[in-house]
């Protein structure tokens, strides 16, 4: 061990893990809404990158982190509505569409970034206020990590509770799950299938865009083409691991957020592990976790199947 005191190190690692979990959690919660309504959004990665770029661009020009986050969210909604139009109204293949959006999102943001800034990498000079929760923040080790975070982090945690409540306790949530399971029965019962699906994918896009913007605006303060390195796909897998339950999705996001931050953490204390092996961990760990936990899960009955009135 190096000179970094163990206590401070643990706090730093825990804090980094919680921050690394935020984009995964946001994206996976959004995907939960979309998939529960029967839409498989494989374009998450492209939507996150777009959110990251839009957030970065707006924050750089307005010097406001909140404007950046809002821009990321807005960009995500636009993607969600486009996905919705093509997948819901035109009934195109969702796997092809998702991968198309992944290519397009990565290409478009890389293209815009290089066109606007050339080889430069401008950094953002914005920050979001940190809030320390009285008393709790004073608890050794876990206190500062858990209870001295950016406001957005707390809001994300609140979103877990809100999502869980909306999905399982409200009429909208019930209708959403009905639409994903049996769209014909739902339609016959008077549920507006198309409207619900559009709302679900708009929520999914918004959360993906916000997740990307959190990465560039709140966490790293810069943008690099391809900066999400597969986090969109990890979020999709977390959704499956979490079996579409926000609480379980939260646990999954924390787990893979920790794995992601481990790379930096171990380097700080000077443990001699090849960085490639640590960088590999989240992806390998995900496959292992899927084998152990997911297996033959019951997917939403109508996942990735377009709905067409009057045709079964």
């Amino acid at each position: 061990m190096s000179a970094v005191p163990l206590e401070g190190f643990t706090t730093a690692l825990l804090s980094a893990a919680l921050i690394a979990a935020v984009p995964l959690l946001l994206a996976a919660l959004g995907e939960t809404f979309a998939e529960q309504a029967g839409l498989l959004n494989l374009g998450l990665e492209g939507m996150m990158l777009t959110g990251a770029f839009a957030g970065f661009f707006v924050a750089l020009n307005t010097n406001s982190a909140y404007a950046g986050l809002a821009a990321g969210l807005g960009a995500g909604v636009l993607w969600g509505l486009l996905f919705g139009f093509l997948a819901i109204s035109l009934r195109v293949d969702q796997v092809i569409l998702g991968l198309a959006i992944t290519i397009l999102g990565a290409g478009l943001t890389g293209f815009l970034f290089r066109s606007l800034y050339g080889a430069r990498f401008p950094t953002l000079d914005v920050s979001l206020p940190k809030v320390a929760i009285p008393l709790l923040a004073e608890v050794p080790i876990v206190g500062p990590a858990l209870f001295r975070q950016q406001v957005v982090v707390y809001l994300t945690w609140a979103l877990v509770v809100v999502s869980s409540f909306v999905l399982s306790r409200t009429r909208f949530g019930l209708e959403l799950r009905a639409v994903g399971e049996h769209p014909f029965a739902a339609d016959a019962a008077g549920v507006k299938v198309f409207r619900i699906r559009y709302l679900a994918i708009a929520i999914g896009g918004a959360m993906a865009g916000l997740a990307g913007a959190f990465l560039s605006v709140a966490d790293l303060n810069f943008f690099v083409p391809g900066m999400t390195v597969g986090q969109g796909f990890i979020a999709i897998a977390i959704t499956m691991l979490g079996k579409w339950k926000p609480g379980r999705v939260f646990v999954g996001a924390l787990l893979f957020g920790s794995l992601r931050s481990l790379a930096t953490g171990l380097q700080v204390v000077g443990v001699a592990v090849q960085p490639e092996f640590i960088l590999m961990l989240p992806y390998l760990g995900l496959i292992v976790a899927l084998v152990l936990l997911a297996g033959r899960t019951a997917l939403p009955g109508a996942l990735a199947i377009p709905y067409e009135r009057g045709r079964r």
Partner: protein, 356 residues
């Protein structure tokens, strides 16, 4: 050929042509919005890419890996096995070929040396493909997610391998030993294009014949059309699925060996040409039709090369090609919808006109 069947035969060609035109149009709008001159950009793309012998031969060289990758994607996608892991399979294949080839070069004659190195590539690809294949049939894990995860693992694993155990100790950068020029893929006589292009064309032809003439190909096709039918017909669906992914991955690995033996001469850390998604777009634009894959491979190779040319000569970031690819896939999806709608309208008219 009556009018109706002629129209249905030509529709996909027109449709894909329109898809490409639409993508270029949106691309042009994007360029103008950023204050760049789209006409000049496209002029550079076409005059250098198509109008010069350098452009044409470079396009043909780049076409080889795309053809080989597409041959594999055809097998998987026709069987509805979503192999998104081509990039990882390519890298592991390329890495193994990069380790084997310099050791054999000079030790054994050229032909067996190339053959064994190519085989190493195929095995590397298959090694990477068999994992998601088994996870799918054994644990029911969706191959889309697992193959994508395997891509990232492959990037880091191969980067580490050429930094550590497989590194050429003679040089500083992380890479395998270099294959001497005399032991690379020889050129096709009277051309500057290496024989990888022929390998690619043969690969596509083999896949064409596989689906046209063999029961195995037919079984894969049935599996792709409707897995339930395949089960009811007594086909061993798990075995077919594993084989489809394995063959697909083997071709991806072969493409990796092609680039090592024909172009680069070694495997470098953090090198990832990313043919996977390009191949995906290409094969869908060719409507999963094996023979149409050949002209589309030429077109996409032309685009990849053109992207580099535009970056150098017209100051347009290489990402522009990804934008075009993504747009083409989106418009392709819209095109399929329009065709379906038109076909349905046509069918509804049939009773009135007593069949066209």
């Amino acid at each position: 050929m009556n009018r109706r069947s002629f129209v249905s035969a030509i529709t996909p060609v027109i449709s894909s042509g329109l898809v490409i035109a639409a993508a270029f149009l949106v691309g042009a709008i994007l360029l103008s919005l950023l204050g760049k001159n789209p006409l000049q950009a496209y002029h550079v793309l076409i005059s250098r890419g198509l109008g010069s012998s350098f452009g044409v031969s470079e396009t043909l060289i780049k076409m080889a890996p795309l053809l080989i990758v597409s041959a594999g994607l055809l097998i998987a996608l026709k069987a509805s096995v979503w192999n998104i892991g081509v990039d990882g399979q390519f890298l592991v294949g390329a890495c193994l070929a990069g380790v084997v080839a310099p050791k054999l070069a000079g030790a054994i004659p050229l032909v067996p040396m190339l053959f064994i190195s190519a085989l190493a590539g195929v095995l590397g690809g298959m090694l990477w493909g068999v994992i998601p294949a088994l996870l799918k049939v054994r644990y029911g894990l969706n191959e889309i997610i697992t193959t994508i995860m395997m891509n990232y693992v492959a990037v880091y694993l191969t980067s580490w391998l050429v930094k550590g155990p497989f590194k050429d100790p003679q040089v500083v950068p992380p890479q395998t030993a270099v294959v001497p020029e005399a032991f690379r893929l020889p050129p096709i006589p009277f051309t500057p294009v290496h024989i990888g292009l022929l390998v690619g064309l043969i690969a596509v032809l083999v896949v064409y014949l596989l689906f046209r003439n063999t029961t195995f190909g037919f079984k894969l096709w049935v599996l792709g059309q409707n897995p339930r039918t395949a089960i009811h017909a007594g086909m061993r669906v798990s075995r077919l699925t594993v084989l489809a992914l394995l063959l697909s991955a083997g071709f991806a690995g072969l493409a990796g060996a092609n680039d090592v033996l024909g172009v680069k001469g070694m495997f470098q850390g953090e090198w990832n040409p990313g043919y996977g998604l390009t191949g995906f777009a290409l094969v869908f634009l060719a409507r999963l039709d094996s023979l149409w894959v050949v002209p589309f491979a030429y077109f996409f190779s032309f685009l990849l090369l053109g992207g580099e040319i535009m970056a150098r000569s017209a100051n347009i970031p290489v990402y522009f090609v990804d934008v075009l690819e993504g747009l083409m896939l989106v418009f392709f999806a819209v095109g399929v919808y329009l065709e379906r709608t038109l076909a349905e309208r046509d069918r509804r008219r049939v009773p009135a006109t007593q069949g066209g």
